[in-house]
Symmetry: C2
Subunit: 191 residues, 2 copies
Amino acid sequence: MSPKSEEQFEAIRQERKESLKVSALKLFANKGFKATSVMDIAKDAGVSKGLLYNYYANKDELVKELIITGIEKIMGDMNMDFSQKLTKESFTRMIEINFNLIRENSDYWKLYISVLTQPTVTKLVSQEIFEILAPFFMAVTGYYQEKGVKNPMAYAYLLGAIFDGVGIDYIFAGEQYPLQEIKNIIIEKFV
Amino acid sequence: MSPKSEEQFEAIRQERKESLKVSALKLFANKGFKATSVMDIAKDAGVSKGLLYNYYANKDELVKELIITGIEKIMGDMNMDFSQKLTKESFTRMIEINFNLIRENSDYWKLYISVLTQPTVTKLVSQEIFEILAPFFMAVTGYYQEKGVKNPMAYAYLLGAIFDGVGIDYIFAGEQYPLQEIKNIIIEKFV
DNA sequence: CTTTGTTGACCAAACGTTCAGTCAAAAAAT
DNA sequence: ATTTTTTGACTGAACGTTTGGTCAACAAAG
C-alpha cells in the first residue's frame, strides 16, 4: 500500500526531531532563545529551514518541548521516590546528583535558567515547570518538617534557590568554580 | 559664544540620557535585551529613535552602561567599607540590605541576572562585573577566614550564589516568595 | 546667523514562516 | 526483471515584517 512502512517513516521522523532538538538545545543554551535564528538551528542539524517547520509548528513550540523534556529528564536522573519520605541518605544523594547534573548537563541548566529569566519564554512554560517541580518541592518541605525546623517551606525554597544560584554562577565562572567545596558546605549545613 | 551655556546643554543631555536609561532598564529587564527594540525604548522615553543614537553609539553600549551603573549603584547602596574587616553586625546588615535590594530594585536584578545568562551580553561586561564585585568577594572571604571555616573562599562563592538564586526565584515566583523567612535562615546559618 | 537638540523617512540585513515543487525509495503493475 | 505509480521527507526561493542604524532637514533659542 505505501512506499515505506509507517514504522520506517516514524523512525526517520524521530531521528530528525531528535537531531533538531540537540542542535536547538546547544544553540539556545549558548546564544539565547531570541539570538538563535531558525536558520542557525537548521544549519547545525544539517537540514533545511523548511524541514524544521514540518516537525515543529514554530520556534516557540520547539523551545517549549525542549524545556519540558529537559526538566523531566533532570527530574528523572535525580531518581527520587516521592512516594516515601526522604532520609538523611537519600537527601544527601539527591544533593550530590544535582551537583553532578549542573556540571554534566550544563546546557539543560543554561536553558532552564534562561527560561526563568527571559519573560518572553517564561510565559510559554511557567505553568508546566511549576507542576513538574511541585513533587520535588513537597518532598523537600516534608524532609525539613520531619527535621523540626521552624519554617520548612522556606528551607525548601532556599535549597531550590541555592541550586539555581550555584548553577548560574558555575555557568558564568566556568570550570574554575569550586563546585565540590560548595557542595560539601551545603550537605554539612542543610542535610 | 554659544547660544546656550555649556552647562545648560549639559543638563539637557544628562536629563535625556537618564530618561532613556530608565526606559531601557525597564524594558530590558521585563522583555529581555534581544526582545527589546531600539524603537521600543525611544517610544517609552517619548523621543525619536534617532535621538537615542545621539546619546549612545548603539544598543550594546546602552546596555553596557546600564549594567555597570546599575551594579555600581547596588554596591554603593550596600554601603560596605571594604577597607576594614567585617564584623558580625556589619555582615548581617549587608545581608539585610541585599535582600531589600532584591525586592526594591528588582529591575536592576533582572537585568543583572539576564546578563549572567545571555552570552551575547555577557561578553560585553563580564570583565567589568568581575572587577566591581571583587572587593565584595574579598571582604566576605576575609570574614569567613576570620571565622576559621575550612574553606573561606567557597563560603564566599556560596553566599554570592544564594543572592543570585534567591533573586532569580523571587523574580520568577513574584510577591508570594518568602523573602523574609529565607533571609532569616541565611543570617542564622551564614553569619 | 550659528549652534545644538531633535525628528522621522529611509536603508540593507535579518527575521520567522510558507509552500510549490523535487527526489529517492518502495510498492504495484506489467 | 522492468516499468510505473505513489508516498512523504525534504528543499530553498520568496514573502511580509521587523530590526539596528543613518542622515538630511528642521526647530529652538540665544
